[in-house]
Amino acid sequence: MKYRSVFDIIGPVMIGPSSSHTAGAARIGRVARSLFGREPKWANISLYGSFAQTYKGHGTDVAVIGGLLDFDTDDQRIIHAIDIANERGMKITFIEEDAVTDHPNTARVIIGDHDGELELVGISIGGGKIEITELNGFELKLSGNHPALLVMHNDRFGTIANVANTLAKYEINIGHMEVSRKEVGKLALMTIEVDQNINNQLIEELEQLPNILKATKIAD
């Protein structure tokens, strides 16, 4: 089931005018920000379908940038997010795409600074709820509703077991997990949604494991 909580239906509390085009867009931006771990210096945002057609009217542009600035859906600063980003020196480009996507409200967010880059595809499925469908070229399905852990690793036997064992040691329960890879034996990505919050010590411990390249947490 796509929707699990009554507060997905009666909620969120948000700045208007559109739950999918404003609140959902802000959430996509905020997940990107959370995964990147810091405020990006530049952002290239491609909008598809209904997002591309109506983003100006719905404030989708200010909302995505608001999310990149770590604003929540009910933060009044969303209205002025582009001005705030400009003041902070963030370079922003919006691209209206013609391509037809699986979901009508799709955004591709590419952000970065001199230390790195991140590329993410998010869809806004209605009522402010979103899913992340792609991260740095990997397909995944992430709702953003639970604390989650993303682990970039080499595709070798035992790697998943090691990660699961470490989570068990910290008494963290896995609610949903999937593994995505581009080619057998090469780079792979574990997406793990959990019930408890993840601390930095666990992240460090995971990164010490063999074949783990990077671990990132996304807070609830």
Binding site: V6, I10, G16, G57, H58, P104, G128
Partner: protein
Amino acid sequence: MFRNVAELVELAVSQNKKISEIMIEQEVMVSGRTKEEILGLMDRNLTVMEKAVERGINGVKSHSGLTGGDAVLMQKYIEKGNFLSGETILDAVSKAVATNEVNAAMGTICATPTAGSAGVVPGTLFAVQKKLNPTREQMISFLFTAGAFGFVVANNASISGAAGGCQAEVGSAAGMAAAAIVEMAGGTPQQCAEAMAITLKNMLGLVCDPVAGLVEVPCVKRNAMGAANAMVAADMALAGITSRIPCDEVIDAMYRIGQAMPSALRETAQGGLAATPTGRRLEAKIFGMPLNEK
């Protein structure tokens, strides 16, 4: 966990509980939060709704200038007392409009189930409040009942205008409101389902065609009519009238109609009212040029 309206009603009937109680119990189970926490969160949403209505009724104006002030006009009209339909229904209309005018002005609202359809549930709630004098707890229950029906629609069909047209947004909201009114007025769980079915049947096929892509025209007035539809359907269900097509089948029909709807009529501002000469002219005035020539 209930997956459809039939299961929801069956749970309520077999346990001799209200729909709202079933929804609260499920939320406790799914979220791991206590009942008190969950009631507290909904209380907070109710407060946001109250503030939005209060702000709208005193008059707001959107940035585009397309909407604002109609909630005030309706309140003044009610005060004069010469209305034809009825005070409760017009009060619901006025408060639904108030909420959506605030939404259009980028104000703070609670999505129910979406921002574009955020007026219907609070509009009807605050209107029937005058008539039924509910406690704060009963008003919170109203939102859980509405949420339970919205939950079924969201999981079995859609609540997104871009995916399913306005029938999925204002249509869903109106059905949710109708069911919640019935429970607050003392109707049975089955009568809630009948009210939802009757409402949604009469919203089927409604397209999402916002002028200039803004959640203003026709969204604000569609919330007004969604609220009116919900009020009448609730009265019909309370009178003992039933829907020949069961609620779950109506929801499924809504989903299929949404799938068959062309993209021009699903929140892209390319068809319907958005593509009328006046729609295009307003769009050009707001953005400097029509969106389709951009």
